[in-house]
Symmetry: C2
Subunit: 504 residues, 2 copies
């Protein structure tokens, strides 16, 4: 242990109390584990109780030049879990900051600390029969709302571009300084939780997908429960139907008929939620033989997807349904629209679910456990998420690249086209493997590198990066790298906060 | 003239050609004039032709430490027109950068340079029978789209929070460096005009309401023309109706029935669009006697407002109309919903109009000219815009303060409550006077100072500032001022770009 680290540990212990500083043992090894191969070591865990202690921890790190990396709930599965991007870092664990600070049922604003989970927020709203619901995610219910928003995760339902529906960040800079974004910096603003911009430059964006500060509080904007709610699902039997479907969805979103996220999954992704790889049938061979896939997807289609219709009156619900039939029926093989209780439970009405996590166990030889934990269970899992124009032919081209590259590396293409906004799709590819099989770690990383490179070469650049990403795939043509370097220096002179994150 | 300025002028002349550098004469005096009293002097005007020349101009300013201030079309009326905030600056006039760089009729994205006006963009879209329309503003049709977006102006119709619907900024920093925000920095991104965030920190917000860079290009997101369009208008006869109306509007917006901006004007604001102060009837006395106001507003009401309903099918239009009747009819004195041709001309469908500018001539003794120019005509005009929670009782309290303060200074309260977003209103007060009447300049500035102070004391903080604003009204409670100072230094080491703007 370096002299700097020792000195810092002594100060952290004195600040937090020794019970909140862990510098040896199993918790460190657990924190070093993610769903793909890494070499980073975690020399210590700090568990502050509040924003003041966060500021104190950062000041000590700055003084002793010890790299430090914040983690809320550590559920960044597929992108690196708790592991820092650029090398060994002390972990600043924020799960003790788990207060729901405020909820306003008139305007639908929810103010939370980093430790608050989707499940916790959902129960909180349910308990008071809130008029509003919180957009949930496809990921784990015990993920942090705040961290997911800052990573610009995509939601299920309305407000699906989650970071576009937050404001009023409290940020502790690596210097220990405190900044409130929006109008909160004036201390007496009645509109701060309902107004994003504040006055003067807007700083929110600086603290998303970055290493410029530790966000200790933010406000999320919720969605009013509809008077009438319908779920829409569809299936395509033929790849040629994909471009017209994408264009039809874009129309429905652009015209305001669909005001929620929509998604389209390929058959393998959908299958891998409900069953695991048939090692017995294939006598242990991978990848999945085509005849088996053809048999399994019967009745399901090659692509399937869904969205929701939210209406303020029964008449509007009926008219929305009619409009969706008009636009979608000509372009899909099967279309189903089902009216559901608007006060009911559905991921599209804010109910978290861990159903999708089963997908990460597709290639495991052990069954999906009751409480999935991808790090613990040594699932092999890597996400790639790229931005694709919301145009049928573009979506088709981008997914074609992903299909081809995944197959080249012996992985079944597991693909989704997500539409959280109206002009852009995320093509999300899951590389699913088994870390307990020799060679799979290396092969999966090589696949990610090739996938990033080929998608970028075709103009499909990443929307989110994990720590395994390959920056050489993404050269820049302007001065942004140098400018970001100076902005980083302005708030983190010793470069101690999550060095290397998002290439910063 | 200082030696630094002389040296810089010589270099600018050599860079741009002497015909694009003005250092004497009437144009300088014109540029120094705004709609209230100022003392700033403009030593020179520079008129670059493109982003490369902008970068060259800024490098020269940086080298010689000469303050410089960018202006697109100079139509920031009521906030300072072309006048720099903090003292004498050379003006960097961007009106020669007036190219419409691209329009995508599939996704509705329009990429423009700073000199492009609302009128110009509207004509461009009309000429090609575009499927999409551009949200316009209540201000002058010859204002710059780009500058209005960066100032976070509010629009009429959908996408009314204009800055929330832009992306892909090209920015020249005061150092001469060039940054593309979003995915544009990678040079080969197909999704850059439809995707805001890019990957890594999002920088867009840094360049709005700021002095951190000169934006030379951005992309706006347009609205699909509806299949069916209705205009909704209402009037209130009694101030007590205002809170329930505001709450009803908030419901309609939160539930998604109204997807455009709504506004409520007080009677004086509406009257001042169509007539001028009756100096003959009052024998020259101000302010307007109550009996006259009562008589004039007969049939109009004390407050009036409107919004639009955009539908993707006739059935949806009918259902939206029914829902609006259901919610608004109980809370207003008069309600009118009119179906209009969806391909017609209306400010709510993107057609610019200068009708509102007449308001600035309310206290002039000369008639409103055919082409209003508030600077040229020495109109007295000051805006105050503050953020108010979108809650009836809050709106009522805030406008009450504005009524009282304006009357204290002998001005007729000219007020609007604007709803470009769903959780926050802008209370916009216009201080309208005649700069040719002795003492009015001073009185209006004193009124603005008192208005800002009293609104801030009640928790209603500014959403936009003009150069006449009083920073002492807005003390901060965090470290944001110091942090903004360091961010400024990181991109503008000699502090030459618009020093003092927004308190930076």
């Amino acid at each position: 242990m370096s002299a700097q680290l020792s000195a810092a540990l002594a100060e952290w212990s004195s600040l937090l109390g020794p019970q909140w500083v862990v510098a040896a043992g199993a918790p460190l090894e657990e924190a070093e584990r993610t769903t793909f191969a890494t070499r980073q070591r975690i020399p210590a865990l700090l568990r502050p109780a509040n924003a003041e202690e966060v500021a104190g921890c950062l000041r000590i790190a700055q003084r002793h030049r010890v790299p430090i990396h914040p983690v809320s709930r550590g559920r960044n599965w597929g992108y690196g879990s708790r592991v820092p991007a650029g090398g060994d870092c002390v972990l600043l664990q924020l799960e003790r900051l788990d207060r729901i600070v405020a909820y306003d049922d008139r305007l639908g604003t929810l103010t939370v600390e980093p430790g608050v989970t989707f499940e916790q927020a959902h129960r909180h709203l349910q308990a008071q029969r809130a008029r509003f619901f919180l957009t949930t995610i496809g990921g784990p219910p015990d993920a942090s709302l705040l961290a997911n928003a800052l990573e610009r995760g995509d939601g299920r339902g309305p407000n699906a571009d989650i970071f576009a529906h937050v404001c009023a960040l409290e940020v502790i800079l690596p210097t220990g300084e405190r900044v409130e974004t929006g109008l909160g910096r004036f201390g007496n603003s009645r509109a701060q939780h309902g107004y994003r911009w504040g006055v003067g430059p807007s700083l929110d964006g600086l603290f998303s997908q970055s290493n410029l500060g530790v966000v200790t509080r933010l406000t999320l904007w919720l969605t009013l429960r509809p008077a009438s709610y319908r779920e829409v699902s569809w299936a395509l039997e033929d790849d040629a139907q994909l471009p017209p479907l994408i264009d039809a969805l874009q129309s429905l979103i652009a015209e305001g008929t669909v005001r929620a996220s929509a998604f389209v999954w390929n058959e393998l992704k959908a299958l891998s939620i409900t069953r695991q790889y048939p090692f017995a049938q294939t006598r242990g061979r991978v990848p999945l033989p085509s005849p088996l896939l053809e048999e399994w997807r019967s009745g399901f289609g090659r692509w399937a997807g869904s969205t929701g219709l939210y209406a303020a009156s029964p008449a509007l619900g009926t008219a929305l349904e009619a409009r969706v039939y008009e636009v979608l029926e000509p372009v899909v093989s099967r279309l189903k629209i089902t009216e559901l209780p608007a006060d009911g439970e559905s991921p599209m009405l804010g109910t978290p679910s861990d159903a999708n996590l089963a997908m990460a166990y597709w290639r495991k030889r052990t069954p999906v456990p009751a409480s999935p934990d991808l790090d613990r269970d040594r699932c092999g899992f890597l996400w790639s998420s790229v931005a694709v124009p919301f145009v049928g032919e573009e979506a088709s081209a981008a997914q074609g690249i992903a299909q081809r590259v995944c197959r080249m590396f012996g992985l079944e293409p597991n693909l989704a086209l997500l539409a959280p906004v109206s002009r852009c799709l995320y093509l999300v590819s899951a590389l699913v493997f088994d870390r307990e099989v020799a060679g799979e770690d290396e092969k999966a990383l090589a696949c990610l590198k090739a996938l990033e490179r080929e998608l970028a070469a075709a103009g499909y650049l990443p929307a989110r990066l994990g720590i395994a990403s390959f920056p050489e795939n993404h050269p820049t043509v302007d001065d942004s790298r140098e400018v970001l370097r100076r902005l980083k220096l302005a708030v983190d002179p010793a470069n101690v906060l999550s060095p290397g994150r998002y290439g910063l």
